[in-house]
Each structure stands twice: as structure tokens, then as C-alpha cells.
């Protein structure tokens, strides 16, 4: 799975995800990617793209939950992403990248690793696979 989230200097947000699914999946299986709110979501608070086991991501409505926790509980993007990934989703099943309207970045996962990269206007940049 691949995905990208972005926010501009005016707080405009967008998200996109694309995948081939799972190896040896049944023909006809739909994963989380085209189910808006599961693997992909964006509103005025944040943009999220998820990766992992689609069935687990659909059950947990991962991407929408990150946005909802920010909106209704007032948590930061990182707190919301960590809550969904580490407390509300099957371990070993999910990772996500997200940005908030204020330019915060979160890259959270409960798998061994996640191929990921990010950059922000203040000059921060990161390319990584495993926990630092």
C-alpha cells in the first residue's frame, strides 16, 4: 500500500491511498482503501492515509477515528493517531501517516515497521522504516 497526506500553509488538507491489497486475497475482495473513513480520510482537522490489514482498518474506521478524536476530544494529531493505532486497533495490523491543519505530522504504526517519509516547512525531514 502507498499513501500520501498533505497540508498547505493555509491549512488546506488532502489524503490519497492506493494499493494492490493482500497477497493471496480472494478475487473480488474489497479492502479498506476505497472505503472512505477506513483507510483514507480528510476534513478540516487532519488528513489520514492508513496501511495494513484492510479488514482490521475497516472494523476500527481508523482514518475517521483519528479525525473524530481530534474534533471531539481535542487531542493533538499525534495523540489521536497513537490512540487509534496503539489502543483501538489489532496489534500488528495497522500503520498510518497523517497531517493536521496546523502542520503537525504523525506517522504511527503497530507493525514491525512502516516505509515512511515526511517533511515540514520548518525544514524537518525524515525517511525511515523501523522505530528510531
Amino acid at each position: 500500500t502507498v499513501g500520501c497526506v498533505a497540508v498547505d500553509s493555509n491549512g488546506n488538507l488532502a489524503s490519497a491511498t492506493s494499493t494492490g491489497g493482500l497477497v493471496n486475497k480472494m478475487a473480488g475482495r474489497i479492502g479498506d482503501t476505497p472505503v472512505i473513513g477506513a483507510g483514507t480520510y480528510a476534513n478540516e482537522f487532519c488528513a489520514v492515509s492508513a496501511t495494513g490489514i484492510g479488514e482490521a482498518i475497516i472494523r476500527a474506521t481508523v482514518a475517521r477515528d483519528v479525525a473524530a478524536i481530534m474534533e471531539f476530544k481535542g487531542l493533538s494529531l499525534k495523540e489521536a493517531a497513537d490512540c487509534v493505532v496503539h489502543e483501538r486497533t489489532l496489534k500488528g495490523a495497522v500503520g498510518l501517516v497523517a497531517v493536521s491543519a496546523s502542520g503537525e505530522v504523525a506517522m504511527s504504526y503497530n507493525t514491525t515497521g512502516m516505509f515512511r517519509a515526511c517533511a515540514t516547512e520548518d525544514g524537518y525531514s525524515e525517511v525511515a522504516i523501523w522505530p528510531n
Binding site: 500500500t1 502507498v2 499513501g3 500520501c4 498533505a6 497540508v7 498547505d8 500553509s9 488546506n12 488538507l13 488532502a14 489524503s15 490519497a16 491511498t17 492506493s18 494499493t19 494492490g20 491489497g21 493482500l22 497477497v23 493471496n24 486475497k25 480472494m26 473480488g28 475482495r29 474489497i30 479492502g31 482503501t33 476505497p34 472505503v35 472512505i36 483514507t40 480528510a42 478540516e44 488528513a47 492515509s49 496501511t51 495494513g52 490489514i53 479488514e55 495490523a93 500503520g95 501517516v97 497531517v99 491543519a101 502542520g103 505530522v105 506517522m107 507493525t111 514491525t112 515497521g113 512502516m114 516505509f115 515512511r116 517519509a117 515526511c118 517533511a119 516547512e121 525517511v127 522504516i129
Partner: protein
Amino acid sequence: MGWAIALHGGAGDIPYSLPPERRLPREETLRHCLQIGVKALKSNMTPLDVVELVVRELENIPHFNAGRGSVLTNKGTVEMEASIMDGNTMKCGAVSGLSTVVNAVSLARLVMDHTPHIYLAFDGAEEFARQQGVETLDSSHFITPENIERLNQAKDANRVQIDYTQPIQKDTIKNETETSLANGDSQIG
């Protein structure tokens, strides 16, 4: 407040022992796609256009599970899916079951922009792709030798695999299957 971008190439059981010949090209792809995204944001391209642009590039590079390099179904075919969403308008588009569309994410964008719908799948999505004149190729274009090997490994293990899952031994397969069945878990969701 400032611009920001993040991207991923999949999560999973990526072994710490991943050999350099497999790790380095993927890291380089991430770096390359990040640079494309940063440049686009700096040039005031909209975030919606930026995420489409970056995901298209990720789809075109076979190191990750999307577009060329997509993993295979139990029939040895590709069934690609993609989605895109604009946070400003809450408009979104999605497609699934694609077997010939080179950039699924751009077809999702067209669903969003040019239909009253959110999601098109399989034959309908393929027909829409041809109506819109997007680039299509024979499905063999998307299938890599590495993914044929991965499918064979998964079939041997009788399981579906998340990105980068490592092959497991026969004894482990037997024990895992027995445990899974006892738990009522078919491992296919």
C-alpha cells in the same frame, strides 16, 4: 502553521534483516517521492493535486504494493484500488477491482470530479476509465516476478499476507492453522 507532507509505502512485518538490495531502493523511492511532494507544495500546488501526484509516482515504481508491483490475488491476478479525499470540501472518490488502469488514484480523482458518485468498482470502474481516456495497459504490466514468488509462498502457507510478511516454516504453518481454527479465525477477516 506551515505546509507539511507525509507519505508511506506500506506497513507490516518488515524484517530488521532486510538486505540492502531490497532496503535501499525503497528508501530512495521514498526520498524521491518526498522531494516531488515538497517541490509541489512549495510551488503552491493544492494539497489535493500534491497527494495525487505523489501517489501516482509511488504507483509507477514497482517497489511498493500499488500500481506496477501490486500483489496478486489467489487467482494470480491484480485487483488494484485507490481513494482520494479533499479536506476542504469533503469530496472524495474511490475505485477498486482495477486490472488495467496504470494510475488508480487518478481514476479515483476522476470519480470524485466527474461523477455524482463516490465509488466505482470492477467492470464499471474499468469502463469509466476508458470513457475518461486514462492510460491503461495489459494487466501483465503490473505483475512482477517477486510478487509471483510471494503468491506462491502465501499459497504454500495457505494464508493471506500483509505487506512484507516473511515466509513461515511448514511446522509453524500447521500450528498456526490449528490455533487459528480453534480461535475461529480464518485469517481472511
